[in-house]
């Protein structure tokens, strides 16, 4: 079910401000693609255009094409809500629904969309998703407890379980480990490696070691100056980016000469 995403000539705006300019990239299925770059370069903004979350912000819009397995996500007949069901997202800060229990959080995608399901099927889905997120063993005895009672790392895995419970094709992760301690980070990275067997994963990270550890391909975003649009400077296999990048700017960034 993992799918391939092709982005061509993508310009991203906030109102009249051009935030990201001219992105062309192909994201391979069943792999992890990492996006790195300095703060404010537009990598998170780019990520959010992949499942049409960008346009939730008033005035935000895009030009260009994002095609998933031959389907234009920004086509005239594309419904952003359907797009988001196929492309899940995990956010920087864990954000379980505070009014719901652990069980309800995982089932949220189904419940909130009023999809009718037999109780036993739902139970199975919740267990499968929690196992998929490596959280089942830790929470199986307290599924009816509020999700906000878990630790930060557990909450983030709960959010991943919630995202995969909708059975998306692609999983977007926006700095999923930046609010977590090293142990929890390791748990999430292990999880990502498992998940890539079934999903296309795109992750934004500030942590270059993380990008090097988990990803197959890496894209480097940069901007020339304040007020200038961000650009995708280089997109290559991770190994190449970290050993022998094509661009000078990439080398400067990953060797810590700026950013």
């Amino acid at each position: 079910m993992a799918k391939r995403i092709d982005v061509s000539d993508l310009n991203i705006y906030y109102g009249n401000f051009l935030a990201v300019e001219g992105v062309n990239v192909s994201i391979e299925p069943r792999s992890i693609t990492a996006l790195i770059g300095p703060s404010g370069c537009g990598k998170s903004t780019f990520l959010r255009t992949l499942n049409r979350m960008h346009e939730v912000i008033p005035g935000a819009r895009v030009e260009g094409k994002v095609v998933m397995d031959g389907h234009d996500l920004y086509g005239a007949d594309a419904d952003p809500v359907d797009v988001r069901r196929q492309i899940g997202m995990v956010f920087q800060r864990p954000n379980p629904f505070p009014t719901m229990s652990i069980y309800e959080n995982v089932a949220a995608g189904m419940r909130l969309n009023a999809r009718r399901m037999k109780k036993s099927d739902l139970d199975e889905l919740v267990e499968r998703s929690l196992r998929g997120a490596n959280l089942w063993e830790e929470v199986k005895d307290r599924l009816d407890r509020p999700g906000s009672g878990l630790s930060g790392g557990q909450q983030q895995r709960l959010c991943i379980a919630r995202a995969i419970a909708v059975e998306p094709d692609v999983l977007l992760m926006d700095e999923p480990c930046s609010a977590l301690d090293p142990i929890s980070t390791l748990a999430i990275e292990d999880l990502m490696t498992e998940l890539k067997e079934r999903y296309t994963i795109v992750i934004v990270t500030h942590n270059m070691q993380q990008a090097a550890r988990v990803s197959e391909s890496t894209g480097f975003f940069n901007l020339n100056g304040v007020g200038q649009p961000g650009r995708l400077i280089e997109f290559n296999p991770t190994e190449k980016i970290f050993s022998n990048p094509d661009q000078k700017a990439t080398e400067d960034y990953i060797s810590g000469r700026f950013g």
Binding site: G15, N16, R52, E55, V56, I57, P58, G59, A60, R61, V62, E63, G64, Y74, A76, D77, A78, D79, P80, V81
Partner: protein
């Protein structure tokens, strides 16, 4: 939801919207517009029902001298009572707000604030009951003293009302009622004073009062003004407390402690409306329209002042 407003190059289209979203967004928007319609309706229906009184010949209006002559003393009474309330309540409310924000022990402050807010929860009619039976009689000796010692001021010329149900008593009851409004808004702005400003003043060696004078009051000034205007708006329209407390005789007088007092618009409506028919009802509605316009102007002014301040301070 995020239809692009600016004309954009070909490519981006209006996002597809689901039926549920359209219905829900539409009804939310409808509710918002309904509020504007209601407000317009209030004005329109009042005008419609006031027109017969405005166009009627003068001798048909109660009192027999026309609409203006009927409403003028009422407007005077309304303004007088509200003004007394404002003059009494504003300094008191600001002092209370200062007490709660800067003088009271930290742990007690919130509870004390809640006590002041309780004053706002008491229904108008209960204030009226209390005004008649507790405050008015207790004011009589004080009014006597005013008459004896300050009688040369027209306000206190007397003769003192035996019941104490005077314009001054009504103004005091109103003052108590608007006290929590003014003090709540003042409190809010005093709490928003940047700590930096206050610490800067203290670092210069200011005492607490000097710090308040230097940092808190200037910062909160427009909040205080806006708050008092809101209080004024409330006092202008307050009905039952005045209806009960004020002993009405009509006419225009500045004498605050005698038994002859002009009514307020609101109190007059409450007193006359249940027994009125025909053109008298239209006359009362016309006076209500006048009250509506007065409070509308005061409130819009107040909101403008408060909001301008909010924009300026970057709060919200």
């Amino acid at each position: 939801m995020t239809a692009t407003r600016t004309p954009s190059p070909p490519g981006p289209t209006r996002p597809v919207r689901r039926l549920g979203d359209r219905v829900f967004a539409g009804s939310a928007r409808g509710a918002g517009i309904l509020i504007l319609v209601i407000l317009a309706g209030v004005a329109a229906f009042l005008v419609a029902e006031a027109v017969p009184a405005i166009t009627a010949p003068a001798e048909e209006i109660p009192g027999g001298e026309g609409l203006t002559a009927y409403i003028a003393p009422l407007v005077f009474g309304t303004l007088l009572a509200a003004l007394i309330a404002l003059v009494v309540a504003t300094p008191l409310a600001v002092a209370i707000a200062l007490f709660i924000t800067h003088f009271a022990p930290r742990r007690l402050a919130q509870g004390l604030g809640y006590l002041v807010d309780l004053l706002a929860a008491i229904p108008s009619i209960v204030y009226g009951f209390w005004g008649i039976s507790w405050l008015a009689p207790k004011m009589v000796p004080f009014y006597r003293w005013l008459e004896d010692n300050l009688g040369f001021i027209p306000f206190f010329a007397g003769p003192t009302s035996a019941t104490g149900r005077t314009m001054l008593t009504a103004g005091l009851v109103l003052a108590i009622m608007i006290l929590p409004i003014i003090s709540a808004i003042s409190r809010e702005v005093f709490l928003q004073v940047p700590t930096l400003h206050k610490e800067a003043a203290l670092a210069l060696g200011a005492t607490r009062w000097e710090m308040i004078k230097m940092a808190v009051i200037p910062y909160g000034k427009s909040g205080i003004i806006g708050g008092s205007m809101l209080g004024l708006g409330r006092a202008l329209g307050e009905t039952l407390a005045v209806t009960l407390v004020l002993s009405v005789s009509g006419g225009i007088t500045f004498n605050l402690i005698s038994s002859g007092n002009p009514a307020t618009i609101a109190a007059n409506i409450a007193l006359q409306f249940p027994e009125s028919t025909g053109i008298a009802v239209n006359t009362l509605i016309a006076s209500g329209l006048a009250l509506f316009v007065i409070t509308l102007v005061v409130n819009m002014l107040a909101r403008w002042i408060v909001n301008r301040r909010a924009d300026f301070s970057g709060a919200n």
